[in-house]
């Protein structure tokens, strides 16, 4: 977990594809380059989708974990 400073938390729980990605894309634009955002989603497809989104945009997927049906992603803006 480390002591990463999260600048913005985006709660995409309950939202279906592609809304978690769209919310993340909106959210990451509000922080500066190098800063972190955290996204929480319940869409099971989001695990692969966030990896694809990170690799396509160049934003880094720094950390991810899941618990109780929730998926958490920490992303660093490029």
């Amino acid at each position: 977990m480390g002591n990463l400073e999260i600048k913005l938390k985006v709660d995409a729980s309950g939202l279906s594809c592609p809304l978690p990605i769209l919310r993340a894309a909106q959210g990451i634009k509000t922080v500066a380059s190098g800063e972190l955002i955290e996204v929480v989603a319940t869409d099971a497809g989001s695990v692969k989708d966030f990896a694809a989104w990170a690799s396509s945009t160049g934003n880094a997927l720094v950390e991810q974990d899941s618990a109780n049906g929730k998926f958490r992603f920490v992303l660093r803006r490029k």
Binding site: G14, P18, L22, Q26, S55, T57, K78
Partner: protein
């Protein structure tokens, strides 16, 4: 990730150097489920920072007529055509199981229950992430649809040659 640092497209990206991918979607059919797929892919591609263009032609153009516009066209045939297929992103029909509007009604109910964004919301999100929607001039002429009948924020209308140029320069093209 394949880093192509020398590509001019990649210069906008600072540390995570990623080549900008290009996607073209030809929005042809105008049916509810296909419009939905088009707008899911277009909005997500925009969010993935792909350069995304949607060429809107034939029945697809009806989706981009303002929801509140009921009849378009100059002559009786064009007016009749628009009367028979209510224009607007919120009035698409299913290609199967339409049942006089029962099918779409159930689709929208289910979408709401499972927090699936509506085509109208997805269209707004796609426009917000810079997806270009390009109307087909020939379709506009044939159906008598004027620029003022269409929603705001669309590109200038073009023809088949421009559409083909976009398609051949794209990394991927979809015809929906």
């Amino acid at each position: 990730m394949t880093a192509i640092a020398t590509a001019p497209d990649a210069q906008a990206a600072t540390d995570g150097a990623v080549k900008t991918k290009k996607l073209v979607i030809v929005d042809y059919s105008g049916e509810l489920e296909k419009t939905w797929a088009t707008l899911i892919l277009a909005s997500t591609a925009g969010a993935m920072e792909m350069e995304t263009s949607v060429f809107i032609t034939f029945w697809g153009l009806q989706t981009f007529v303002k929801d509140k516009k009921r009849i378009t066209g100059e002559n009786w045939m064009q007016k009749m055509m628009s009367f028979m297929q209510r224009p607007g992103v919120s009035h698409r029909k299913l290609s199967k199981m339409n049942f006089m509007g029962m099918g779409p009604w159930m689709m929208f109910k289910l979408a709401k229950k499972y927090n699936v964004a509506s085509p109208k919301d997805l269209l707004e999100m796609a426009q917000a992430v810079g997806v270009k929607f390009i109307p087909c001039q020939m379709t506009m002429d044939m159906f008598g649809i004027k620029g003022s009948d269409l929603i705001d924020g669309l590109e200038e209308p073009v023809g088949a040659a421009t559409a083909l140029q976009l398609m051949t320069e794209a990394d991927s093209t979809l015809f929906i």
